[in-house]
């Protein structure tokens, strides 16, 4: 008889669940930023902008180049300057917005009166062109990365949700005096020794004893720490999430409370009628691309800077782009709050897969979600069901 529950939870530690959920929400913020670009363009033009992931990629490269300009290519900054991070963010957003304008003006606008499939093919072609064409001109091998040192807030915040088990803490503390005693004895002996690197037999024995006691203490200490449920929050990612929230608030303000935002909603509701009502449709479409691309640029700069160990290459935007698209569909494509919700859910789902111990399938879960959503609720969580009319 196989114990099913033990199979299911094999390798799962419930203590790490809060940490993984938090990771999911933080990375989900980035997905949400990219998803906003997809969903806004889809809302206005009914076009899946496949090249959006590549705009994201170019944003990361912009941030990289700016950091090279400020700190040099060696990326071993002696003094961190305060304006580096804001400058990287702003330049990534600006460059991405410009790329968005260029793509819309020269590739998508000529396609607007063609069948929809033509603009889809253009979008895919552009995405490939940027991925492979970028390899000719951008540094790809060895894959560069933005050094973690440009970020002055590298340390972690740790919160304890539960205290370490008292018995383990006591056991660890009990080992400490012995370690201290061994250390004192070793220090005494070291004063007598002539050559620190060539100890006598007594010295060697004392040093060995000290190392044993020290490792026993460290092990007990580690066990005590891991018995507590804690959350480690890198300060960089906290900044990332805060900036994400601020940008989303700005977007919300633009879309809901400005004249252009109202025009944008009108165009999204009905392209032709909006044009008849005197809205400059081309201007609004450009604005949509600018906003979406700038958000993608911000997300790219932040994920390349604040998440450690991220390497940049020309395929940097491929998976985040596709996942963000799935997030947009999950929330209801064309729906702005839906994109944020979908992005966060996507990040959480991904980190739950990692938590369950299947991290090699992390990238597949997005598409599984997509297929399930399309099967059961194609309009997405917050989307409204529209019947297509002739």
């Amino acid at each position: 008889m196989i114990d099913v529950t033990s199979l299911l939870v094999a390798g799962i530690e419930f203590g790490s669940l809060p940490q993984q959920l938090l990771n999911g929400i933080l990375i989900g913020g980035v997905y949400a930023l990219i998803a906003l670009g997809y969903t806004m363009v889809y809302g206005v033009l009914r076009l899946i902008n496949f090249a959006h992931g590549e705009v994201y990629m170019l944003g990361a490269y912009t941030a990289l180049f700016v950091s090279w300009i400020i700190y040099g290519r060696a990326q071993d900054p002696v003094t961190v300057v305060w304006y580096a991070l804001p400058l990287m963010l702003l330049s990534a957003m600006t460059v991405c917005a410009l790329i968005g304008i260029v793509l819309e003006r020269f590739a998508y606008r000529p396609m607007r009166n063609q069948p929809r499939i033509a603009s889809l093919i253009t979008a895919i072609g552009l995405s490939l062109l940027l991925q492979y064409g970028g390899q000719l001109f951008l540094p790809v091998s060895p894959a560069p990365n933005i050094s973690g040192k440009v970020n002055p807030y590298r340390d972690n915040l740790t919160f304890y949700l539960t205290q370490p088990a008292p018995s383990l803490v006591r056991a660890a503390d009990a080992l400490k005096p012995e370690m201290d005693k061994a250390k004192a004895a070793l220090d005494e002996q070291l004063k007598l020794e002539k050559d620190e690197f060539n100890l006598s037999d007594t010295g060697l024995a004392l040093r060995k004893e000290f190392f044993e006691r020290q490792s026993a203490y460290n092990k007990a200490q580690g066990e005590a720490q891991s018995s507590a449920i804690s959350i480690t929050l890198p300060k960089g990612q906290l900044i990332m999430f805060t900036v994400t929230l601020i940008l989303m608030a700005i977007l919300r303000h633009i879309v809901l409370f400005t004249k252009s935002g109202r025009a944008m909603r009108a165009v999204s509701h009905d392209f032709d009628s909006a044009a008849l009502m005197g809205i400059n449709v081309n201007k609004i479409v450009t604005l949509t691309f600018v906003l979406g691309s700038a958000l993608a640029g911000a997300g790219a700069m932040m994920s390349a800077t604040f998440i450690s160990g991220v390497k940049i290459d020309t395929f940097f935007g491929l998976l985040p782009g596709v996942k963000a698209f799935v997030a947009a569909v999950l929330g209801g494509i064309g729906n702005i709050p839906g994109a944020v919700l979908g992005g966060i859910l996507m990040g959480v789902a991904e980190s739950l897969v990692v938590w369950a111990g299947y991290d090699q399938y992390k990238d597949a879960v997005a598409f599984l979600i997509l297929i399930v959503v399309l099967l059961f609720k194609p309009s997405g969580l917050l989307g409204s069901n529209k019947v297509e009319k002739v």
């Binding site: 396609m111 093919i121 253009t122 490939l128 390899q135 599984l368 297929i371 399309l374």
Partner: protein
Amino acid sequence: MRFWGVRLASIAGGIGLAVLIHWIALSQLSAFGVRLVVLAGLYVTLAVSLNLINGITGQFSIGHAAFYQVGAYAAGLFTVKVFSSQPLTFMLWVPVAMIVGAVVASAAGLLVGLPSLRLRGDYLAIVTLGFGEIIRILSQNLKVVGAASGMAIEPKMLSQSPMVWLCWLLAIGSIALCRNLLQTAHGLSFLAVREDEIASSAMGINVTRTKVAAFVLGSALAGAAGGFYAHYEGFLIPTQFGMEVSFIILTMVVLGGSGSITGSVIAAVALSALPELLRNIKTIPLATVIGLTIGVIAAVSLGRRWSEQLHGPVRDRVLKLSGLTGLCLGGGYLLGLGLRALPALSEATTDGNRIRMVIFAGTLVLLMLVRPQGVLGHREFGLGKWLREPAR
């Protein structure tokens, strides 16, 4: 009598053509040439089957290589597990394995098609893209198919005498299948769905079922091609079936003209040789690439503007536009030569392998700007004009 005569003659003609290609390839061409012929046959199958989905039924699948891969892995695994314990000779076995590949790939097609084809076209694109990614991740992690280090297929075809005829028989069979399908009521419903989903559903066509049928049929043909590829190559690794392959097939279909079977065939033969030939070009100055790119962009943007103002006979217009294109490309090349004087670009080179995907992607974008319906559009050309009996 006449009915059967025409059909038997066509079947004999198809088999004869496949055997002829086999004979010419093996007796006249080098090993590299034979490889090109085999790849051309496989790409013809893949392009025609994708054309059935994208061109004829008007859907938009961009992950066709995934079905190719599913077929290859299924057939390969089947051979590895079963071949030693069954009586068939290898020559008879390969078609059986290809059928297995086709069946498994069509099952995958059903799985992917059912949820996404109920909805409008855009979703299929992203679902097929995602399906390709899932298949890639699975094939890199599953131990039973060798994970990332690959799977050896034993036995495989002898490299000096591969079964070229089988590969081309499959290609000709796919062409015949698609062509004949379009003469039937089922095929007409495919075309009707492409032209207008709402109107065709009002005419009593079950739109979802039609789209799924086309998708499953296309996947099955791709799976059969994969089954052949597994036994031809003898070794499968996940990177052979990357997204690049999907996009190459897509470019073939789009370039040839979505909906034109002959267009897909011509484009597939022409483009399948391109990556293999480019692989041998080792150094291309980056300055020339930049110069030619600028030339192409100039040709397209000027040509688009100019062609709206041109009037007169078709021949004059074509001549003027090709003159403009030639001028722009020549100018681009000269610009490239000039750019080499810049210190940053004088030494920079690239190789054919790296620019081939740039060429494919550029072709897609430019084609959409210049001629979105593809070179042949929906037109076919064939011997029909001459073979058809005169109207009485």
